[in-house]
């Protein structure tokens, strides 16, 4: 099992390698969260959830349950 976005530490980056399409909203893909794109964890909310990420030029906040469905390769 690969790492997911939820395993990133603040400031760490990864490349998205797989997305569980059944479990995450299409909207996230449409906002640019796609395989092959670089993702950086910018911040976690005070209770460790949601996560504040930068992906493909967009700044987004997603919940951890969604982040777990996006597999990455850390860089």
């Amino acid at each position: 099992m690969n790492d997911s976005i939820a395993q990133l530490e603040i400031g760490e980056k990864g490349i998205i390698c797989d997305i569980a399409i059944d479990k995450i909203p299409l909207k996230l893909l449409e906002m640019g969260c796609l395989p092959g794109k670089e993702v950086e964890l910018l911040q976690k909310a005070p209770l460790q959830d949601p996560l504040y990420i930068r992906v493909n030029g967009s700044y987004l906040a997603i919940r951890v349950e969604t982040a777990l469905q996006i597999a990455i390769e850390k860089i």
Binding site: I19, I21, D22, I24, P25, L26, K27, L28, L29, E30, M31, G32, L34, P35, L42, Q43, A45, P46, L47, Q48, D49, P50, Y52, N56, G57, S58, Y59, L60, A61, I62, R63, T66
Partner: protein
């Protein structure tokens, strides 16, 4: 006059691209907010004069990231652009993109191009290009996108003229697709689609297939054909996924040739501000401080204009009474209509101030940070971080608060938010609390600063918040609605808010509130006036009966008048109603007079004080609360022989008003927003039942 041509232009774009600024620039104050039939998303339209021969209706569609709808707002965009029978179906679509996020904005653009509607791309915030080191090759971009591209800055008002020039020539716009999905994803599947439904463009059919709901604007035969394709759910998901990837490939290719950024990465303003504003301690402290400022301004600053309005309406009423020929009609105007309108207008300062703060927080980009900060906490109670905005707005008035819940994607989270918002202590409860606290809570100070009456008011605010949160928790456990809860929010760049945009927002929303809620409150205050001004035989002969009864006593004229007024009220229709419900409210410590106030304040809570003032026959000499208070204090409970407003019955009233659903306006708006009577009825009985039980326990325990 020469017959003028008229076209429809739709503005479409991602949120935070300055679409509304552009709309304001194109139309000025020449706009109106309506509703889409059946749903209550604001429909903003305005007129823009393009030339002597050509006028355009500009339709500002809600912000969206894609044509595939995930919320009520986004569904509007889908239905407007996909259904060419729609009365709002545009002749031209203007896609508003922002210079920094061009890539993501182009996603939506390529989707719309595939619908083969004439489309113009506007790249907004062009004034930022130099500072951010961005260069765009417009002529190459135009040929790559088969479209006209206009660089402009809606805030700095540059480039608006060139956009208008392009729109004038709308007949020459290219309708060729940019990223033809049908060929690249799965040719065979899409070939079958276009063969089966030759009357639609392939992409339109594809959009119809991907929607979960059936759509109401195509024929049954067409829907049947669509359903055949729809059944292949797994395939569709995969293709949608592919479509997104493919579109970004095309966009990246195009941008490689046309979009150049020369920017040193580093800690920018966004990073620094985010670090403080979403900090695990400072983040909450700053949010709390902002809330305090908002409350302070709603309750302290808005008070001054509210007093003016109050005074002005009182004067207007007595002026009408003095100037118009006396009679029933004048009474209706002076006692029914004018106070009724005054009852709405008096809340305008509070609501405008609140709207102003919400608009500023949204424009600056801070609101998204609060949503980010609060999401986890709110989720425990079945709500979303986005529920914070309605809950804060609810302290002014539940009606606009409920309307602001529309951007919550999950229906379940949105419904729970709508259901619990009316528990927050709205401004209409304040006058009721104020008078009862003054009656039953001693005016004592502790440690020099804490005033017991003030603390009680604070406790009531807290109680409202606790009631909202705990009922949300209960609903979260009980509601059997399955709804994919998902949550994505964009954290936009910080911006200095534009005064023009904020003033337009405040004016438009306040207008919508006054006319929306106003109609209902006005209608009910007229009905109440009728019920209080007519009655049976005793009502008609009140003067004679009272005079006869008191002929032996030495009454001054005013006292006699008051005695007559009280007798009249008792025998008016509303008095009869009060008598009828008396047995039901006796366990709470109330009599028929309070019963009348309860019934009349069902329309709006603040009516309570006014009704009591009439009932306790205070001659209306302006706002003399001392007299009302004294009258209420002297009121005797005939059964116990003691005071009517004891600590027990007063506390019972406070709790009743804290919990009960006594607001027709809120019920009406909940019906509109949930599109069903089920939820407002649940609120009415649930909240009022809780209020009854709490009031009864308090009275029985303390009496």
């Amino acid at each position: 006059m020469v017959s003028k041509q008229h076209i429809k232009i739709a503005l479409v774009g991602n949120p935070n691209t300055g679409k509304t600024s552009l709309f304001n620039q194109l139309t000025g104050l020449n706009q109106k907010v309506g509703n889409y039939p059946g749903i209550t998303v604001d429909k903003k339209q305005g007129i823009c004069h393009l030339s002597k021969e050509l006028d355009a209706t500009i339709i500002d569609l809600p912000g969206t990231y894609s044509i595939n709808p995930t919320s009520v707002d986004e569904n509007i965009v889908y239905e407007t652009l996909v259904n060419n029978q729609n009365p709002d179906f545009p002749d031209v679509v203007v896609v508003v993109a922002e210079v920094e996020n061009l890539k993501r904005n182009l996603f939506l653009f390529t989707q719309i191009k595939d619908l083969e509607i004439p489309t113009v791309l506007v790249i907004n915030m062009a004034d930022q290009m130099l500072r951010k080191g961005i260069k765009i090759d417009i002529s190459v971009l135009e040929s790559e996108l088969n479209s006209k591209v206009v660089l402009l800055s809606a805030r700095k008002k540059t480039g608006i003229g060139s956009l208008k020039n392009v729109l004038k020539e709308y007949q020459n716009l290219n309708t060729k697709t940019v990223a033809d999905v049908s060929e690249r994803i799965h040719g065979h599947f899409f070939e079958r689609i276009s063969k089966s439904l030759p009357q639609f463009s392939t992409y339109k059919s594809w959009l119809l297939i991907t929607q979960e709901r059936d759509c109401n604007f195509i024929s049954i035969q067409e829907q049947e054909k669509i359903n055949i394709f729809k059944s292949k759910r797994d395939k569709i998901k995969k293709f949608q996924h592919k479509e997104a990837i493919y579109r970004y490939q095309v966009i990246n290719e195009i941008l490689k040739k046309t979009y150049f950024v020369n920017r040193e990465e580093g800690t920018d303003l966004r990073g620094k501000l985010d670090h403080i504003l979403t900090h695990k301690i400072f983040g909450y402290v700053i949010f709390a401080m902002i809330l305090i400022v908002i409350f302070q301004s709603i309750f302290a600053w808005a008070n001054i204009p509210m007093e003016w309005i109050d005074g002005a309406f009182a004067q207007l009423a007595s002026f009408a009474k003095a100037q118009l020929p006396s009679g029933k009609f004048t009474d209706l105007i002076a006692e029914g209509v004018i106070p009724g309108i005054g009852g709405i207008v008096i809340f305008v300062p509070q609501i405008a101030v609140l709207f102003m703060f919400v608009a500023i927080l949204e424009e600056t980009g801070y609101m998204s940070r609060v949503v980010f900060l609060m999401d986890k906490i709110m989720r425990r109670y079945g709500m979303s971080g986005k529920s914070i905005i309605p809950l804060v707005s609810g302290t002014a008035c539940a009606i606009p608060a409920i309307m602001s819940s529309r951007n919550i994607e999950s229906w379940r989270e949105r419904l729970i938010t709508i259901l619990v918002v009316p528990f927050t202590t709205c401004s209409a409860r304040i006058p009721v609390y104020a008078i009862i606290i003054a009656l039953i809570i001693p005016d004592k100070h502790y440690f020099g600063i804490f005033n017991l009456q003030g603390l009680t008011l604070l406790a009531l605010y807290f109680l409202g918040f606790v009631a909202a949160i705990s009922s949300a928790y209960l609903l979260h456990k009980v509601l059997k609605i399955k709804n994919r809860s998902f949550f994505v929010i964009e954290l936009p760049n910080y911006k200095i808010p534009s005064i023009r945009n904020i003033s337009i927002t405040v004016i438009e929303r306040t207008k919508a509130f006054v006319f929306g809620a106003g109609k209902i409150i006005l209608a009910i205050s007229i009905v109440l006036w009728f019920l209080a001004s007519y009655g049976g035989k005793e009502f008609k002969n009140a003067t004679k009966i009272v005079q006869d009864k008191n002929s032996s006593r030495d009454f001054s004229d005013t006292d006699l008048q008051q005695e007559i007024a009280t007798y009249r009220l008792e025998h008016s229709y509303i008095g009869m109603l009060g008598k009828t419900i008396e047995p039901a409210i006796e366990p709470l410590g109330y009599d028929w007079k309070i019963g009348i106030a309860l019934i009349s304040s069902f329309a709006a809570r603040e009516v309570f004080v006014g009704t009591l003032a009439t009932i306790y026959s205070v001659a209306d000499k302006g706002e003399n609360t001392l007299t009302i208070k004294e009258r209420m204090r002297n009121e005797v409970n005939p059964i116990t022989g003691g005071k009517r407003f004891t600590f027990a019955s007063g506390l019972s009233l406070l709790l009743f008003y804290a919990f009960a659903m006594q607001c027709m306006g809120t019920l009406a708006i909940v019906k509109r927003e949930t599109n069903s009577w089920k939820w407002p009825i649940l609120q009415l009985f649930g909240m009022t039942g809780l209020a009854y039980i709490a009031g009864m326990i308090a009275y029985q325990f303390f009496k």
